[in-house]
């Protein structure tokens, strides 16, 4: 029962790689967006806010299809990237990472935004009077104090990325070894006769990963409160 086959291993490893790359690439962008939403008022802020949350409420298949239209080989952005930079997303694992990044972005941004909002602006003012330029205030005061929130966001985003299915399979299909993640492997296995025990193994693996992520995220959140209260 617990003999994980090479195909299953490939799916697990691919999922981990896709989710790791998606999270690492999305995090700096997520921090920038979270800071904008938490600390700045600008024209179109409500639109940006809605746009980020859109993947959370749209049917994943719609997001996947929109990605295909945009980043597919004939898509507006996809064609340009392929011709000029040689970056191809369609039916590649990089495309899976893109889909996972987009789908997990709202979950990544939210805790970061909340933790930046919780940083006392009066501390940022104190830093300014001590000679710190705005970006250094961010690096030396805001970001360190928001760090537990950033880690919590990364963990949540990672967990979401590991489990993403609808947008990924729509955008990059279900190619073993290239785009077949744990979720799409389970999907294939339960449609195959005798695939049940293999599917069950992968189900257990994904439950373990998700639980570990939630516990880690909770732990970071608790640390955040302690840190802000200055111990």
């Amino acid at each position: 029962m617990f003999d994980i086959s090479p195909t299953e291993w490939t799916a697990i490893q691919l999922s981990l790689r896709v989710a790791t790359v998606a999270t690492l690439v999305a995090t700096p962008l997520g921090i920038a967006v979270a800071w904008l939403l938490a600390r700045r008022d600008f024209w179109g802020k409500a639109v940006l806010d809605a746009l980020i949350y859109l993947p959370l409420v749209l049917p994943p298949v719609v997001t996947g299809y929109l990605l295909l239209l945009t980043f597919g080989r004939r898509g507006l952005v996809g064609a340009w990237l392929a011709d000029h930079l040689g970056i191809v997303f369609a039916f590649r694992w990089t495309g899976a990472a893109l889909a996972c990044g987009v789908m997990s972005f709202p979950l990544l941004v939210r805790p970061i935004r909340l933790s930046i909002e919780a940083v006392d602006r009066r501390l940022e003012q104190a830093a300014e009077t001590l000679g710190a330029a705005p970006f250094r205030v961010f690096l030396t005061v805001t970001l360190p104090l928001a760090l537990p929130g950033v880690l919590a966001g990364m963990v949540l985003g990672f967990a979401k990325a590991i489990g993403e299915f609808g947008a990924t399979i729509t955008f990059v299909s279900n190619i073993p070894g290239e785009t077949q993640t744990i979720s799409s492997a389970i999907y294939s296995l339960i449609q195959t006769p005798d695939g049940d025990s293999a599917a069950l193994r992968l189900v257990i693996v994904s439950i373990v990963i998700a639980l570990a992520a939630l516990i880690a995220s909770e732990w970071f959140a608790r640390r955040a409160t302690r840190r802000l209260h200055g111990n």
Partner: protein
Amino acid sequence: MLRVDVVKQLGEFSLQASFTSEGRVTGLFGASGAGKTSLINMIAGLLRPDRGIIALDGEILDDTAARIHVPAHRRRIGYVFQDARLFPHLDVRQNLDYGRRMNRLADDPAQRKRVVDLLDIGGLMDRRPGRLSGGERQRVAFGRALLSKPRLLLLDEPLGSLDEGRKVEILPYLIRLRDEAMIPMVYVSHDVAELRQLATQIVMLRHGRIAAFGGVKVLPGTPA
């Protein structure tokens, strides 16, 4: 020399103040809500005046007519807040060193030792602000502001959050600071006794306007 001539509307409240001060310690006196904090926030560069000029030692920091506004981090004006505002994620040593690092000043162990001795905070260096008493926190805040080598030091009711016992504990340090640090200060307070001990010149604010200006004898309750 500090020159302030500003107008600022804050909701219903209007602040209009004009004074020039050459004193070592300018006491900014007034009841709460008189506009004291808004005024020194403007001097610090944290708040922009609607109209007017702020200049320090001949350098223009704000001139709305000429569209000049030097941002707070380039003013080299130290600020000690009523609530200390130490960085909770840094220990005392790192808090004290913050201004030096941000201003890219060379390390000056002699100066640091002077300030640490003056304020008696040598024993607190490895502690986080969360483990300091109110009085200790405020002393570290003085040190942090001093070590950024400011041209002017703003103190916003630095004893305001402390009980009587703590005030008595801190006041001698402030008097030493005034006499030894050689940095001009603007000291905000609504406490006549405090200002009488510390200030060399008084600006009295009432409802956003300057009600009196002069030596400490303009403070209420001074025998004629």
